[in-house]
Amino acid sequence: MSDRVIIGLEVHAQITSLKTKLFCSCSSDYRGRKPNTNVCPTCLGLPGSLPVLNRAALEKAIALALALNCRISEKLIFVRKHYFYPDLPKNYQISQYDRYGLIPFAVSGSIAIDMGNYSKVVRIRRINIEEDTGRIVYPGGSPLGSTYSLVDYNRAGIALLEIVTEPDFSNSREARVFLEKLGSILEHLDITDTSLEGALRADANISVAGGPRVEIKNIGSPRELEKALNYEIARQLNILKSGGTLERETRHWIKEKGITVPSRAKELEGDYRYFPDPDLPPISIPPDLIESIKRRLPELPDLRARRLAEEYGIGSYMASVLVLNKRLCDHFENTVRLCGNPKLVSSILVNEFLRWVDELDLDLGEGLRRLNSKRLCRIVDYLEKGLISVKLLKEYVRRVIVENTDPEKIVESGMTTLSSAEDIEKIVEEVFKEYPKAVEDARRDPKAVNFLVGQVMKKTRGRADPKLTNAIILRRLQEHESG
C-alpha cells in the first residue's frame, strides 16, 4: 500500500477591491460593521427583489482568468444552486455550472509553482463568479453548544471568485505554495486584499493511499492550509495503520484547536437542482472587452520574478519566493531602492523574516510594519560598517520582529561586534592565561586554534568579529613562539 497523497483545492477569493456587492449596491466593505446594517432588499432576498450584475466584478474575473491562462466562455450563464441554510437568504446561491450544456465562467488554466528543487504546473479546472453567504455565529460558541444560531447578512452577496484546481498536489507544501502564489496573483491584479480576514479561503479535497475523497472546509490562509492538510494526512494514515477504514466525508478545520472534525449533517449534501437563473439572462463576454483587459494587465508574479532576478541579480528561487507575496515583494523593492544590497535584503526577507513570521504566527503585514524598510536598511548598514556580524544580524532581525523595536535601541544596549583590535586583544590575553594548555596545543596543531576562538566568542557572547579574533590569536601564537 502506497501512502500517496492526492490533493485538489477549491479556493474562494472575495473581490475586495470592488466598492459594492456582486448583485446589489450595498458596500463590499462589510467588516467591522454592526450586524445586518450592510443589507438591502436584494442581498436579503426580500420578495420581489432582483439581482443586477456589477460590471466591475466581471472585469476583475476576466483579468484573473487571463492571468491564469484560462479559456473564457463566450457567455456568462448564472445558475442557481439550491440548499437550505440560514446564512443563504434566498436558499439558493447564484453561481455557474458545467453540466446540461451550462458552462463555467472560465476553464483550463494553470499556475506554475517553484518548490526550490523542482517546479510544477498546477492545472486550474475552472473559475466561477458567485455570491458569498452571510455569517453565522453561535451564542454558545459552537453549533453543538447552542440551541439557536445568530445570523449577520452583511457579507451576503459579496462577490466571490471560485477557483478550482485539478487534484495535482502531492503534498501539503505544494498546496500552500500554490495558495500563496494564487493570493499573490490576486494581489497583483488588485482583486483581493488577502490580508483581510476571510478574503481568501480554501476547501481541500484529499485522498490518502488510494482512499476515498475527504473534503476539508473552512481553511483561512496558506499557512492554515498546510497545517490542516498535515493534520488530515496524519489522521488518515493513523486510521489506516490501525486497520480502520476511511469514509467519504466532509470535515471542518478548527483553526483554534488545529484539528479537523466531521462537518454539517448529510442534510446539506443533497441534490442542488442547478438550473439557469431566469433573473439574469446570459451575459455575452465580447472579445474586445477581453482584449482591452489583457492590454491593461499589470506585471504578474512570474514576470516579476524574472525581472527581479535579472535586475537585482538575486537567485531565481529567491525571486520566486519573494513574489509569492506582493507586499513582501514590494517591500523588497522599496528597501533596495533605499539602501541597495539586493542580495542581502532578499536573503534577510526570505530566510529570516518569513521564518519568524511563520514561527510567531504573525500577520505578514504586521511583520512588515515591524521590519520596515527604514529598520531593515539600518541593519544592513550596521553589517556593512562592520558594527555587527552576519550572526548578529540574524539576532537583530529576530529582535526587531519579536520586540517591534528599532535597531538603534539594540545597538544602544551594546550588542555590537567587538571590532576594535584593542578590545579583542585584551580578551585574547585573558583566554591565553586561562588555557595555557590549549595555547600549547594550538601551536602544534592549527586545528586547535578554533577552541581559542570559541572561548573568545563565549566571553563576548558572540560579539567579537570572528575574522579579527582569528588573526589576533594567530599573531600572538607566533609571537609566543619567537619570544
Binding site: L50, F84, Y100, P278
Partner: protein, 485 residues
C-alpha cells in the same frame, strides 16, 4: 356593458376622469366617494380586496395629487394593485398565509411609476396563492366572486384585480401574468387585460412565481384605460436585468377605431380545437367576420408543437417556482415560529407546511422533481427545448402576420368549485394563454361578447413589442361588440 354593481359615475375611465378633475378638482372626491359607496355595498360579497385602504387615506392622497402642479397622466385614478406587487408600508400577502403580515419596506417600480403619474393605490387585490391558479379560489384567505354572476369565479390568478375593475371598485388595476393570469380573469369579467412583451414592464418588486414568464400588466374597463396605464408602467428599469431598453410610445395614439395600417391576421387552429366551447368559437367567428370588414385579411394556420405547450409551460413554471419559493423559510420575513432547539431544517419544514397551501405545495414538489438529478434532462431541459420550438414557430408566423386572434379561455367562467378540485381541469383553462408567455409575446384580452349572459374574451397577440397594434385592434373589437364610452 357593465355588471350590476357599477353606476354611471363609477364607470368613468381615466380620460374622462382626468378631464372632469381638471375642470373641477372636487370631482375627484365625488368620484372617490362613489367608488367607496359601491365597495361598501358589494365588496362583502365580491371580495376583490385582501387589503383595502380606508377612504380617508385615499382622500388625503387625492388632495396631495391635486396640490401638485400637474395632474399627471393618471389624474387621480384609483388603482387596485394585485397583492404580489410590493407596496411600501402596505401589507403584501401574495395571497398566502406565509406572507399574511408581510409589509414590504420598498415599492415595486410599477408602484413608484403609478404614484408619480398621479395614480392612487386604493388597495391590494385577492389572488391565487403565489399566483398559482386560474380561478382565485387558491387564495389562502377567501375566493373572489365574479361580478357578472356571483356563483362563478372571476378567473385567476389576478381575479381580485379583474373583479375590482369590473365591479367599478377601482378605476384600473395591475395584475401579473405568468400563463394567462391577467387575460383569463379579464376574459371572465368582461374587462380588458394586457400582458406586455417580456421585459417591457419592470418586474422589480413583483413577488416571483416563474421569473422567465412573469409580467405585470394593466386591467381596465376599456382599451383606452389599459393603454394609458401601460404608457405609465412600461420602460426600462435598471433594477431588473430582464428589463428592455426600448423607447416607450404613448400607447393612446394606437386607440383608434380604424386600422392604423393594413393588417394581416391569423387564427391558429390548435387554439380553437377540441376543448373549446362551441359558443365561444361563435363569439370569435363573429369578431373575425367583422375584422375582415375592416380590410383585415384573416388566414388559418396550424402550429402542431402547441400541443405540447401545456406540459412545457407547467414544467418550466413549477421548476422556477420551486426555486423562487425556497426563500420562504420564516426567518427574515413572513410567518414566524419560535423554535429554539429545533434544527433549521425542521423549523423550515414546519413553517412551510403551515404557510403554503396545497396547490403551492404541489407545484413546489413537482418543480423539485423536474429539476432533480437524473430527471432534469428528460423534463426541464426538454421543456426548454419545446419552448424554443414554440418560440421559433411564432417568430416564423409573425414574419407573415401582424397578430393572431383566439378565444382567451376555452369556456365562459366556471362555477366556484367546478374545476379547482381537479388540477388538470384547472390547468387546461390556460391552454390558449400559456404559449404566449413561453414565447415572451405581448397579448391582450378584450371582451368579445356574451355566452348565456357571461362575458367571453378575445385574445389578440403578436410579435415582441407589438402592443400598439394589439391596442389598435382591441379598440376595433370594442367597437365591433358595441362598446360605447
Amino acid at each position: 356593458m357593465s355588471p350590476p354593481q357599477c353606476t354611471d359615475l363609477a364607470t368613468i375611465g381615466i380620460k374622462s376622469l382626468r378631464a372632469r378633475v381638471e375642470e373641477d378638482p372636487d370631482f375627484l372626491f365625488k368620484y372617490i366617494e362613489e367608488v367607496y359607496k359601491i365597495i361598501e355595498k358589494y365588496e362583502g360579497v365580491i371580495k376583490a380586496y385582501i387589503t383595502l385602504r380606508p377612504m380617508e387615506e385615499v382622500v388625503r392622497e387625492a388632495e396631495e395629487v391635486l396640490k401638485r402642479g400637474t395632474l399627471g397622466p393618471l389624474g387621480g385614478s384609483l388603482v387596485a394593485v394585485k397583492d404580489n406587487i410590493s407596496t411600501k408600508g402596505i401589507r403584501t400577502t401574495c395571497g398566502s398565509k406565509m406572507l399574511e403580515n408581510y409589509v414590504p419596506p420598498y415599492d415595486a417600480t410599477v408602484v413608484e411609476r403609478i404614484k408619480t403619474a398621479g395614480g392612487i393605490i386604493i388597495g391590494k387585490t385577492n389572488m391565487d396563492e403565489f399566483a398559482m391558479g386560474s380561478t382565485t379560489e387558491n387564495s389562502s384567505f377567501f375566493p373572489t366572486r365574479n361580478p357578472w354572476d356571483l356563483e362563478r369565479v372571476p378567473g385567476g390568478s389576478s381575479g381580485g384585480s379583474a373583479a375590482a375593475v369590473a365591479a367599478c371598485e377601482a378605476t384600473v388595476a395591475l395584475g401579473s401574468d405568468t400563463g394567462g393570469s391577467i387575460r383569463l380573469p379579464a376574459a371572465y369579467t368582461g374587462t380588458v387585460g394586457l400582458k406586455p412583451t417580456y421585459g417591457l414592464v419592470s418586474r422589480y418588486g413583483l413577488i416571483a412565481y416563474a421569473s422567465s414568464l412573469d409580467q405585470i400588466g394593466p386591467i381596465g374597463r376599456c382599451v383606452d384605460d389599459v393603454a394609458r396605464v401601460l404608457s405609465v408602467i412600461a420602460g426600462h428599469d435598471s433594477r431588473d436585468s430582464t428589463s428592455l431598453k426600448v423607447e416607450v410610445p404613448d400607447y393612446t395614439q394606437f386607440v383608434s377605431e380604424e386600422p392604423l395600417r393594413k393588417y394581416r391576421a391569423v387564427v391558429i387552429e390548435e387554439m380553437i380545437g377540441e376543448g373549446v366551447d362551441r359558443e365561444v368559437i361563435k363569439v370569435l367567428e363573429h369578431v373575425v367576420d367583422k375584422l375582415e370588414g375592416y380590410d383585415i385579411e384573416v388566414e388559418f394556420r396550424s402550429i402542431p408543437i402547441l400541443e405540447y405547450s401545456l406540459p412545457a409551460y407547467y414544467i418550466i413554471a413549477m421548476a422556477e417556482a420551486s426555486s423562487n419559493l425556497a426563500r420562504y423559510d420564516g426567518l427574515r420575513y413572513g410567518i414566524h415560529l419560535s423554535t429554539e432547539g429545533l434544527l433549521w431544517t425542521k423549523t423550515y419544514a414546519q413553517v412551510r407546511k403551515m404557510g403554503f397551501g396545497d396547490e403551492v405545495k404541489r407545484r413546489i414538489i413537482l418543480g423539485t422533481y423536474v429539476l432533480s438529478e437524473g430527471l432534469y434532462e428528460g423534463y426541464y431541459l426538454k421543456a426548454a427545448k419545446v419552448r424554443r420550438a414554440i418560440y421559433d414557430s411564432f417568430r416564423k408566423l409573425f414574419s407573415e402576420f401582424d397578430f393572431a386572434v383566439s378565444p382567451t379561455a376555452p369556456t365562459p367562467p366556471p362555477k366556484l368549485g367546478e374545476v379547482v378540485a381537479d388540477p388538470l381541469k384547472l390547468y387546461s383553462l390556460d391552454i390558449n394563454t400559456v404559449p404566449v408567455n413561453l414565447a415572451g409575446l405581448p397579448a391582450i384580452s378584450v371582451p368579445g361578447g356574451f355566452v348565456g349572459g357571461l362575458p367571453v374574451g378575445i385574445q389578440l397577440f403578436g410579435p415582441p413589442l407589438s402592443e400598439g397594434v394589439l391596442i389598435n385592434v382591441a379598440r376595433m373589437v370594442e367597437v365591433i361588440v358595441g362598446y360605447e364610452r
